[in-house]
C-alpha cells in the first residue's frame, strides 16, 4: 500500500487531484479510522506540522493539521493556557487534524465544552482538490457557513484538513480531584445529576462503573480547599482526594484511552438517562463515562456485532477508534439526506472514505 507525505497544503491538493481514493492519516493513534482500505492511498499529514500563530492575549492558536497535540499543548502550557476540550491520546501521537476529524474530546470537556465548541477556523482540501477556508482566527465570527464545526467528526469524508484555529483558555492555576464511591449505580447517577444541575463548576465529572464518581475542580489555589469541602458537604460524604503531581499523573493516564483495556476501543455519544439500561448490556467491558454522562469510552472484547446491537437497542451511535473493522460507525444511524447531499457537494467524485453510515 503506497502512502504520500505532503509538507505543504499545495501538495495535499495535488495528491487529492491525482488519486481517486485517499485516506488522510495523522498520528495513527486511532487505527480503526486511519488504516487504509482496499485501493486507498494513505495521505500522511504528520509532515504538515507546526504552530502558525499564537498570541496568548488573543486566546487563539492556529496550527497546521498534522501538528501533534503534545507539541501544541506544551506550547500552551508554557503560557498558562490549554485546549479546554482536553483531547485524548496526546502522548500517543494524536494530531490536531485527527482529533478534529474523529471529533474527540476528553474528560475536561465538562467545564467549557467539546472540540466543536473550540474550533474557530479550518482550511481543508475538498474532494475536487480545492483549498477551502471556513471560519476565522478570532474568537467570534459569524461570516459564511460554519465549516469548522462541520469538519468535527467528519472522519476525512468531507476533505483533508490542513490548518486549524482554536479558541484556548487559561489553565486553572490549581486543580484537585475527588473520588467518591457510592453503594450502587443508582445513587452514583443521582449524585451525578445533582452535581450537573448545581452551580458547582467541575472540570471533570466522570462516572466509573459500577458506581464511582471522579470529580475535578480547578481555579485559584486559595479557593480550592473551601470548594473541596463544600463539594463533600454537597455530596454528604467524603471522598478520596488527589492533588499535586499524583493528580496530574492520574488524568494523564485517563487521557490515554488505550489504557482502558484490550480489544476494540469505542466512543459512544449519549445522555445520562441512557446509562442504567446501557450498563445492563455492557457486562464487564472496561469503560468510563465522561462529561456528566454525555460521553462514553469503552474497551470491548466481544464480537463487535454484540456492541452494535446493544447500542441500537438503546438508540445510540458509536464510533470504533481501535481494532480492525470494515466500518467504524456502529449503533444507531443518525444520518439522513441532509448529510449525504452535503457530502456529495464537497466530494462529488467520492475520493474520500464515506463510511456508509450503519443501516
Amino acid at each position: 500500500m503506497s502512502s504520500l507525505r505532503p509538507t505543504h497544503p499545495k501538495e495535499v491538493q495535488e495528491a487529492v487531484r491525482s488519486h481517486p481514493r485517499l485516506l488522510p492519516r495523522g498520528g495513527g493513534s486511532k487505527p480503526a479510522l486511519s488504516t487504509p482500505r482496499e485501493r486507498q492511498v494513505a495521505l500522511e499529514l504528520i509532515g504538515l506540522s507546526g504552530v502558525l500563530e499564537y498570541n496568548p492575549g488573543e486566546y487563539v492558536v492556529v496550527a497546521r493539521a498534522g501538528t501533534p497535540l503534545s507539541e501544541l499543548e506544551a506550547l500552551l502550557k508554557a503560557h498558562g493556557q490549554y485546549l479546554p476540550f482536553d483531547p485524548p491520546f496526546a502522548r500517543q501521537g494524536a494530531t490536531l487534524g485527527g482529533t478534529v476529524a474523529a471529533g474527540l474530546s476528553g474528560p475536561m470537556r465538562n467545564r467549557y465544552g467539546g472540540v466543536r465548541d473550540f474550533i474557530l477556523g479550518v482550511e481543508f482540501v475538498d474532494g475536487l482538490g480545492n483549498l477551502v477556508r471556513g471560519g476565522g482566527k478570532v474568537v467570534k465570527n459569524a461570516a459564511g457557513f460554519d465549516l469548522p464545526k462541520l469538519m468535527v467528526g467528519s472522519l476525512g469524508r468531507l476533505g483533508v484538513l490542513t490548518e486549524l484555529a482554536f479558541k484556548v483558555f487559561p489553565y486553572p492555576k490549581a486543580t484537585a480531584t475527588l473520588e467518591v464511591a457510592f453503594p450502587n449505580l443508582g445513587e452514583a447517577l443521582e449524585a451525578l445529576y445533582r452535581l450537573a444541575a448545581s452551580p458547582i463548576e467541575l472540570y471533570a465529572l466522570d462516572l466509573v462503573p459500577p458506581s464511582r464518581l471522579v470529580l475535578r475542580l480547578g481555579g485559584l489555589p486559595e479557593a480550592l480547599s473551601p470548594r473541596l469541602e463544600r463539594l463533600e458537604r454537597f455530596l454528604n460524604q467524603q471522598g478520596e482526594r488527589l492533588q499535586g503531581e499524583a493528580e496530574e499523573a492520574y488524568w494523564e493516564g485517563v487521557n490515554d484511552l488505550g489504557r482502558l483495556g484490550e480489544g476494540y476501543l469505542v466512543k459512544v455519544a449519549l445522555t445520562p438517562r441512557r446509562i442504567p439500561t446501557l450498563e445492563a448490556r455492557l457486562g464487564a467491558a472496561p469503560r468510563r463515562y465522561m462529561s456528566a454522562g454525555h460521553l462514553l469510552y469503552l474497551a470491548w472484547n466481544e464480537p463487535l456485532e454484540a456492541l452494535d446491537e446493544a447500542l441500537r437497542a438503546e438508540g445510540l451511535p458509536g464510533l470504533v477508534l481501535r481494532g480492525v473493522v470494515a466500518n467504524p460507525r456502529i449503533g444507531l444511524n443518525l444520518e439522513g439526506p441532509f448529510g449525504l447531499k452535503v457530502t456529495a457537494a464537497l466530494d462529488p467524485q467520492g475520493r474520500f472514505e464515506r463510511y456508509a453510515a450503519p443501516n
Binding site: 498570541n55 492575549g57 488573543e58 487563539v60 498558562g80 471529533g103 467549557y112 465544552g113 467539546g114 466543536r116 480545492n130 483549498l131 477551502v132 477556508r133 476565522g136 478570532v138 474568537v139 467570534k140 465570527n141 459569524a142 461570516a143 459564511g144 457557513f145 469548522p148 464545526k149 462541520l150 468535527v152 467528519s154 469524508r157 487559561p170 492555576k173 445529576y193 450537573a196 444541575a197 448545581s198 452551580p199 463548576e201 481555579g219 485559584l220 470548594r227 463544600r230 459512544v268 455519544a269 445522555t271 445520562p272 462529561s291 454525555h294 460521553l295 458509536g318 449503533g331 443518525l334 439522513g336 439526506p337 441532509f338 448529510g339 452535503v342 457530502t343 456529495a344 457537494a345 464537497l346
Partner: protein
C-alpha cells in the same frame, strides 16, 4: 388571484396575509435601509404547515424567507421581492422542559428570554444573551448564531443548540443533532446553525440549559480615555482571569443609554468597562480580589461594584438598551459588527475615530471587548442629502479595516443582505464556491432566503451609489 395563490389560501385559511396594509409591515427587519414587498406572508402554526408552505414555494418556484421577530440588523429577514415570508412568531410554544436532563425543546418563535424565565424555577438558564433577548426568537438566534455579552466563556447560540427538527428546502424533514452534547459523524447541526436561513427552516429546537451561577461579581469602571479601558481588558486577560463578560461603551453610547434607561452610569466618563465574574462563591470571591487589583492598576477613575441583583440588572439594562437608545441621539444609524483580534482593539478604535472625523459622522462604540467584537454605530441623518451614502461608505471602511487586522466582517449579526458584498474581502473564490456548492446541494433552486449571504452578480457594496436592485425598483432605502 392566481391558482397558485388560491392553493396557498387553501393551505392557510387563517394565516395568509395579502393586503398592501398587511404586507407593508413586513417590508423590513431592524435594518430599514432595505425594504422589499413580499408577494404574501404566511403564519404557520405547526411543523406540517411550515413544510406545506415550503413545498408550495418549491412547486411554484417562489423564493421565501423565514422570519422570527424581524430584529435582524443585517437584512437577514428582509423579504425577497415577490417572494413568500414565512413568519414563525406564532409557533411560540415551549414544548418540553426537562430540568433533570437540563434541556428545553421549543418552537422556533419562542423568545430567547422566555427560555431562561421558564428555566429559572430550576435554577437553570439559557446562556446566549443577545441584547435583543426580550424580543428575538430562538429560530432567528439559531439562523444567525447569535451571541451576546456573555459569550466569551460559554460561546454563542451554536454552542447551546443540541438538536433541531428542520424543514429542508425540498419540503422534507430532517433531524439534526440529538440530546447529547457529543456526536458521532460530521456535525451537520453545526453547519445548519448560523446558515442564515439558507439551508432550511428550524421548526423545533432542543436547547441546553446551564445551572445558574451561584455568584456574580459585576464591576463598572469609568475611564477618561477609551484606550485605557481597552488596555484594562488586555490586563484582565493577561492576569489569567476568565470573566463571563467584558463590555465597553464610549461616551456617546453612555449618553444614549442614560437617556433611555437611566442606568446611573457616570455620565462624564469617556469610556465605561463592565467586567462580570461568575461562578462558585469562593472562587468568585477570590477572583474578585485579583480583579480589583487589575482594575485599580488600569487607571480607572471610578469603580463601582454591584451590591445587589437589582444593581447588577441596572448596569446591564443600560448596556443592553444602548443600540436602540442611540435612536435618541440621531434619527438614523447603521450598526456594524466587525471583529478584530483583541490585541488590535486599540488600533481599530483609533482608526474608527479617524474615519469618523474624515467622514464628518459621529460614531458611537459599544462592544464585546472580551471577544474583540466591535459594534460601531454610525449616526447620520437620512434627511440630509448624501449622509446615508457617506455612512455606508464609512461602514464599509470599518469592515475592511476589521479584515485587514485579521478579524471578521461579522461577529454575530450575520452577513444577510447588508454585508454580502464584503464576503469576498474575507473569503477566496474557492471558499465561497465550496459554500455555494453546499447551498445548491441542499437547495438547487436557491429559493431559501435567496439573495442573502452570497455576493451575487448584482451585488455591489452599498457605498457605490444606488444599489442595482434599487435602480431596478426591487428594493428601496428609506
Amino acid at each position: 388571484m392566481t391558482p397558485a395563490l388560491r392553493e396557498l389560501e387553501a393551505l392557510f385559511p387563517r394565516g395568509l396575509l395579502r393586503q398592501p396594509g398587511e404586507l407593508v409591515a413586513y417590508e423590513s427587519d431592524a435594518l430599514t435601509a432595505f425594504r422589499a414587498r413580499p408577494l404574501a406572508v404566511v403564519l404557520p402554526e405547526s411543523h406540517e404547515e411550515v413544510a406545506a408552505a415550503v413545498r408550495w414555494c418549491q412547486k411554484h418556484r417562489i423564493p421565501y424567507v423565514a422570519r422570527g421577530s424581524g430584529t435582524s440588523l443585517s437584512g437577514g429577514s428582509l423579504p425577497v421581492e415577490g417572494g413568500l415570508v414565512i413568519g414563525l412568531n406564532r409557533m411560540n410554544k415551549l414544548l418540553r422542559l426537562d430540568p433533570k436532563e437540563r434541556i428545553a425543546v421549543v418552537q422556533p418563535g419562542f423568545i430567547n428570554l422566555q427560555v431562561s424565565l421558564a428555566a429559572a424555577p430550576y435554577s437553570l438558564y439559557y446562556a446566549p444573551d443577545p441584547s435583543s433577548q426580550p424580543v428575538s426568537t430562538i429560530g432567528g438566534n439559531l439562523a444567525f448564531n447569535s451571541g451576546g455579552a456573555h459569550c466569551l466563556k460559554y460561546g454563542m447560540t451554536s454552542n447551546h443548540v443540541l438538536g433541531a427538527r428542520v424543514v429542508l428546502p425540498d419540503g422534507e424533514t430532517a433531524l439534526l443533532g440529538s440530546e447529547s452534547l457529543e456526536g458521532i459523524g460530521p456535525d451537520w447541526l453545526g453547519l445548519f446553525v448560523g446558515s442564515e436561513g439558507l439551508l432550511g427552516i428550524a421548526t423545533e429546537v432542543t436547547l441546553r440549559l446551564l445551572p445558574r451561577p451561584e455568584a456574580y461579581h459585576t464591576v463598572l469602571a469609568a475611564y477618561d480615555t477609551l484606550e485605557k479601558a481597552g488596555e484594562a481588558v488586555a490586563a484582565v486577560v493577561a492576569s489569567g482571569l476568565l470573566p463571563g463578560a467584558m463590555e465597553i461603551m464610549d461616551s456617546l453610547a453612555i449618553e444614549a443609554a442614560e437617556a433611555a434607561v437611566g442606568a446611573g452610569y457616570p455620565r462624564e466618563a469617556r469610556a465605561l468597562l463592565i467586567v462580570e465574574l461568575e461562578g462558585e462563591t469562593p472562587q468568585v470571591e477570590a477572583e474578585a480580589r485579583h480583579l480589583e487589583r487589575v482594575i485599580r492598576d488600569s487607571g480607572a477613575y471610578e469603580v463601582r461594584v454591584a451590591q445587589s441583583e437589582a444593581e447588577r440588572m441596572k448596569i446591564w439594562k443600560g448596556r443592553k438598551a444602548a443600540f436602540s437608545a442611540v435612536g435618541r441621539l440621531s434619527p438614523d444609524y447603521i450598526v456594524q459588527d466587525g471583529v478584530v483580534p483583541r490585541s488590535k482593539l486599540g488600533q481599530a478604535l483609533a482608526e474608527i475615530e479617524r474615519l469618523s472625523e474624515r467622514y464628518g459622522l459621529r460614531v458611537a462604540n459599544v462592544f464585546h471587548a472580551g471577544d474583540g467584537n466591535l459594534h460601531p454605530l454610525i449616526l447620520y441623518n437620512g434627511r440630509v442629502a448624501g449622509e446615508l451614502e457617506r455612512a455606508e461608505e464609512l461602514a464599509g471602511e470599518i469592515l475592511k479595516l476589521c479584515v485587514a487586522l485579521g478579524g471578521s466582517i461579522t461577529g454575530e449579526h450575520g452577513v444577510g443582505m447588508e454585508k454580502r458584498a464584503y464576503m469576498p474581502v474575507m473569503f477566496t473564490p474557492a471558499d465561497l464556491e465550496a459554500m455555494r456548492r453546499i447551498r445548491r446541494a441542499i437547495d438547487p433552486l436557491e429559493l431559501a432566503n435567496r439573495g442573502k449571504m452570497f455576493p451575487g452578480s448584482e451585488a455591489k457594496p452599498l457605498s457605490h451609489g444606488p444599489h442595482p436592485l434599487e435602480k431596478a425598483g426591487v428594493i428601496a432605502r428609506e
